[in-house]
Amino acid sequence: MSSASSEAALGSHRLGGATLFALSARHVTKRFPGVLANDHVDFDLLPGEVHTLLGENGAGKSTLASVLCGLYKPDEGAVLRNGTQIRLTSPRHGLQNGIAMVHQHFRLVDRFSVAENVVLGHRSLPFRLRTSDLENQVAEVAERFGLPLDPKASVGELSAGQRQRVEIVKALYQGAEILLLDEPTALLAPPEVEKLFETVRAMTKAGKSVVFVSHKLGEVVDISDRVTVMRDGRVTGSVARGEADTRKLAELMVGRDIDLSPRRSRAAAQDTLLHLDNVGLRRDGVDHISQVSFSVRAGEIVGVAGVSGNGQRELAEIVAGLQAPTSGEISINGARVNGIGTRNVRKAGLAYVPEDRLGTGLAPSLSIVDNLVLTRERGFLVDRKAALDEAEAFIKQLEIKTPHAHTATRKLSGGNSQKVLLAREIFGAGDNARVLVVCSPTRGLDVGAVEAVHKLLDEARAAGKAILLISEDLDEVLTLADKVMVLYRGSVVHEALGSEVDVEAVGLAMAGLS
């Protein structure tokens, strides 16, 4: 459908008393091996509205969005555009109908310029490309919607927010009338989120419809005209602005009461187990970490918040002994551990749960049993008998869902593989490992698994471990940490006690505005 006719539909979307929706899903069902991702889902989008699809991870909202944009074909049901059924065969076909999706993981070519990325795959691109013409066109589209972008810049060097802008400009350039944004705020700092919202408003003003796919309750309420909530592949409710409060939405989303209240340490903190003094990491003339100092005591969780890419990974690796700091001192239990290598750091009493579960913390093709001996001292022969007993105990105790202990970890769900990793690092290391470094432990997990992970961390704290929690999920840090720090460009720019946190100040600090 051409853009002209959908603009006509905008003016007269009530025909004969019936509402003419820009885009609808009717009884859409989509199955994946072993999963019913969408179960007879209905969804309606009005022209010019911002409509949020709200749900936990695994609720089926991304699948629905993928069906709406033509990436997946529904097994049953239909998609309607302006009241007429369309059978989308591909995302390109979706684009021809004015529907575009911006994925959570940007689909950009790093080595291309902004302009090359924007025009890539445009259906009426000429055979011969003239770079300057393309750059002008792209700049023009970007300006019309107030999205500042340099068309000549190499995409590989842009920030997450800028890359998202490239994706949006790309969709608009290709004539999108309906934009599906999958978890658009996941990688953005609070001020960038505000900028995104401005862009969204500019787009709806121009008659475009926007679908927000999100699991973040708080932020969707402000921007959305309507919120449709999904759970376990079904729609549990659809409410217009002002019809429901956050509490109601949370209930629709989760289906039961969840405890969102903060968990703090109950016992008084004891002796310092991990101490960093003026630690810095300088590589290729760039300071990745500079002058970071803090202590973590037994029985407390110190949380490090920050937008992705501000030195979190480097900080964790320095503490874990995977990278040696170029300045400063690190000590565990009073002993200096600078540059002694990760195996020795572990001997000194450290356990480490990296952010990337399956690609770093676990060997994906190896079994649960084999993964349990990964960070253990091993002799000439590997003792798998003891590991098997241990694996079976963990499976029972932590309710890890797996056919058996010899299953490859990549075949487990995210929550279950995280449980394997946490079990190894918290319990497997025994009483020796009293310092625990944990990075984004609940990323991509469903709400049940998040609760289980938080409970595990809380128990580890109660058992007297000193925990450094580095997470991009601010809510997680605020929920668990006894002390909160904000990392920005490798420096600690804000510090507060967990009980006295000023959320606004933390948000500003994350954006580097403090």
Partner: protein
């Protein structure tokens, strides 16, 4: 030894370069789409034997050049099916292709083993240009395929950098998911370029047989040129124009042993001299593997990785 010998050596270097350019750009197109085809040597051998057999049977030099193209395309089709559709390990699939091509070329070439080549590609007579001193034999003393190859390399380069299909090809090797999201079939782009690449390799083998070979004997025909072409891909940083420069350079190192032997210059035993091109290639690979060089080279990011859309 006179200067003339070196002029002829350079002329031969340009000539050998034709095979290398054809094969290397074939491999570049394949790899730019994200597929790695190690079967170059096998395809070259099959191209060579096909050209010989067709030439022997028909006496027609153009048919003898055309069929190797088809054979190369079919071999590449096998590789594409294994690595793209069936998602087999591309390294092993390529090696299987080398072994298969090696055996089959020996097998079907057995009846003509030792025969001298039936047809020859003649150099173009460019009149006064060919008679020019030095540049005459080096630049203007070649056959039409050589000139077409040079023009083809320039055209390839322009297509890759300045056209829509080129843009899509470059994106496919780097970010197939992006291309897929635009509704372009990654498998199709990869199939097409793997097959075009294979066709070029087939032509490279056929041309080599008819222009530079003497008698058919499998063991001595391509002599590892296919592997040198693969090293050249890295040397050329996956760019067609640089492949020309690299091919001439490598053509020179391949030709020098023959020149030295022909001139009875026995500084080194011939077997040792024969090693030099391979050692030179290895040396270049060493130089190219310094971290700085690798950053500049920029291999396609998803080289050798099968693309799967539904990853849940």
């Amino acid at each position: 030894m006179n200067a003339n010998v070196w002029v002829l050596t350079f002329a031969d270097a340009f000539s050998i370069a034709t095979t290398l350019i054809l094969a290397t750009i074939g491999a570049i197109l394949t790899e730019r789409s994200g597929v790695i085809n190690l079967g170059v040597e096998g395809i070259l051998l099959m191209g060579a034997v096909t050209a010989f057999l067709v030439g022997d049977a028909t006496g027609n030099v153009w048919l003898a050049l055309l069929l190797p193209v088809a054979v190369g395309a079919v071999m590449a089709l096998i590789h594409a099916t294994l690595s793209i559709t069936l998602r087999a390990n591309q390294i092993v699939a390529g090696l299987a292709l080398v072994i298969f091509g090696n055996g089959l070329s020996q097998f079907i070439g057995k009846p003509v083993e030792g025969k001298t080549r039936p047809v020859v590609i003649k150099a173009l007579d460019l009149g006064p240009l060919t008679d020019l001193p030095i540049v005459g034999p080096i630049i203007f003393g070649h056959d039409p395929i050589t000139y077409l190859t040079w023009v083809g390399a320039v055209v390839c380069s322009l297509c890759l950098n300045r056209t829509r299909p080129g843009l899509v090809l470059r994106a496919t090797g780097d970010a197939p998911a992006t291309v897929d999201a635009q509704g372009v079939s990654v498998a199709r782009v990869r199939f097409v370029h793997t097959i075009i690449g294979g066709a070029r390799m087939g032509l490279a083998g056929g041309w080599f047989m008819l222009a530079r070979g003497t008698a058919w004997s499998q063991a001595a025909t391509t002599n590892g040129i296919g592997w040198i072409a693969l090293a050249l891909v890295v040397f050329a940083a996956w760019r067609p124009l640089r492949a020309i420069a690299g091919a001439v350079l490598f053509g020179f190192t391949l030709q020098v042993p023959f020149t030295l032997q022909g001139q009875q210059i026995n500084i080194l035993p011939p077997e040792i001299v024969q090693m030099l091109p391979y050692l030179a290639t290895l040396f270049v690979l060493v130089i190219l593997s310094t971290p700085r060089a690798r950053k500049l080279l920029g291999a396609p990011k998803m080289l050798g990785q099968p693309f799967v859309r539904d990853e849940r």
